[in-house]
Subunit: 351 residues, 2 copies
């Protein structure tokens, strides 16, 4: 096996699972994966099938590093960012780290907060991706056949077919409105953008240089001594003035050498309680009951109790969560509800 | 003013406000009264308009005595029962205490967990009751004109009219089923049994002697030294073998000398979240929002946060409560829901 690397991106602070999630225990650290493990632990289990532990690096926020490290198998490296700068600076910095350690290896980028249960299909697809990226200077992304007109994902439009399930990318697109999402899904040409990528270090860095030279330059100057802690200090010196921008915007949308492999593995980014519930075991009346929770005479509800009892009685299609000393109750189909709570709390705090 | 006494009964352990209520902080200690005071504190405010503080005695459970005392104005006496024996033994024991202190005074019995806001009407009606009970050996109860066919209250059927709003009692009745409650309310002859009474000590003790001699005898032997703590020890010695029975069953249902005064004051025993909400201030969309609570895009909901935030989003006619480290979510019209949780918790604990 070549010296393949894996970069796990675990710096998110998603609020969609409030009150279960909180700034110091964000989504990737919650037990949302099958079997009650954290999404991060499950991601790392998939990562160790792709690379040796010492070639797996988890990038996260400095203040999350200790909690993240507790989820990691022995040997996996955790590096903290002093400030968050979205995925483009993080991925480019990791490319420089891996290049310094192994010449010009290929590496996979795995978001730490996604749910994927079919580990064998995942490993096989990633192996295909690695082989292609090691052979050619391509930016390889994984597209997910859409299960519906989802408006919270970006989409990838496929271009010319190169091999079984492998296509040129015709376009990366931002999150659509519902009408557009419906048209795209109906066309059969659009897949969900998974945020999972494989490329060589130089392929990625060259693409960044071409599309975003002002961001590439300071990262070209990244220099460090003393292993991962030294690299952490170098990031702290370089990151603050950098543009905060996603890899999709910074690189992929303009890259002529982007390919898409249509994933054969299951995938969800668990953007809502409903998305999570869809993958959980249910009781006879369709309820997901997790932790210290009671669902009495309820149908199709999600009831979660963590650190206290959540009791739901006689409800239909509701979410009831007791966690971290707070409570949420909303309709299961109210995907934006949690965000409105976060906004209300911030506006209260600001008063 | 004659030496009038007041007995406040504060030993209940009602579970209907779970999770806000708990065994060591039952309904009468919750801030359910107007203005966020406890029902007990509001009851005592009404009591001090009827009698001097040193002639107000609060009977409660020994383990609640300290919490109860914190709600009491200076001078009010708190006496703890080592075991609960329902209202008949408690009231009869208090009658012996008051008789020993003041000959044969009249005393009022006030449950500590009811909501009454019109203090002036209450004081005026109780004064009428005291005057009648001091003049004649009658058992005077207060009837509440029914606001609907409530099935969780006992009813009092009125007999011959003696004066304005004052009637002989034709019958005390147990809680009816809905059809019976509807018929009773339609008849205009039935009022709710408030559980508020006025009588002289000897009138009550004679009535108990006549109707329940086996219960009256051990209480006749009640003897104590050393003030309220001595009385507490005497109760601990006498109470354990006593029958646990309400004053309605033990005395009133068979008493020939029961009178009913139709109350001119507002009254509710707050038997449910809905009953409480009915008396609370509401926001523009009809929500009762109490404590650390958010009701976003909700209508006619009750949202309570005590010791943590309760956030309800996009709901109608629901109860969402976060308190004492637990959460309840149910429909506002589900009066029995809370009890089902208590039963489920007991059955889990028993496993």
């Amino acid at each position: 096996m070549p010296d393949r690397f894996v970069l796990v991106l675990a710096g998110g602070r998603g609020e969609r699972f409030w009150p279960w999630s909180r700034p110091d225990r964000p989504k990737q650290l919650l037990p949302l994966a099958r079997g009650g493990r954290s999404l991060l632990a499950a991601t790392l289990e998939r990562a160790v099938a792709l690379a040796a532990p010492e070639r797996i690096v988890v990038l996260t926020a400095l203040d999350l590093a200790a909690a993240v490290a507790r989820e990691c198998p022995r040997g996996v490296r955790v590096i903290g960012e002093s400030v968050p700068r979205n995925t483009a600076p993080a991925i480019a910095a990791a490319a420089r780290l891996f290049a310094a350690e192994a010449g010009d290896p290929a590496f996979a980028v795995l978001p730490a907060d996604q749910a994927i249960d079919d580990g064998a299909a995942f490993a096989a697809d990633l192996a295909l991706g690695f082989e292609r990226a090691e052979r050619e200077p391509v930016l390889l992304t994984f597209g997910i056949p859409p299960r519906g007109p989802e408006t919270s994902f970006g989409y990838v439009r496929r271009g010319a077919r190169l091999a079984d399930r492998l296509f040129r990318v015709a376009a990366f697109t931002e999150k659509p409105d519902l009408a557009r999402a419906q048209a795209w899904v109906a066309s059969g040409e659009y897949l969900w953008n998974s945020g999972i990528f494989v490329w060589r270090c130089t392929t990625l860095l060259d693409a960044l240089e071409a599309s975003r030279p002002a961001l590439a330059a300071p990262l070209r100057g990244l220099a460090w001594q003393g292993g991962d802690r030294g690299f952490e200090r170098a990031l702290a010196a370089v990151f603050p003035p950098l543009e905060s921008i996603s890899i999709d915007f910074a690189v992929l949308e303009r890259a002529p050498n982007a390919l898409m492999l249509e994933a054969a593995f299951d995938w969800d980014d668990l953007g809502s309680w409903r998305a999570w519930a869809r993958r959980q075991e249910r009781d006879a009346r369709g309820n997901v009951v997790f932790g210290e929770a009671l669902a009495l005479e309820c149908d199709r509800c999600v009831v979660v109790g963590d650190g206290g009892l959540a009791a739901a009685i006689g409800l239909q299609d509701m979410v009831v969560v007791h966690a971290e000393g707070n409570t949420l109750a909303c309709r299961l189909d109210d995907g934006e509800g949690v965000r409105r709570v976060s906004e209300a709390l911030r506006s209260r705090a600001a008063r």
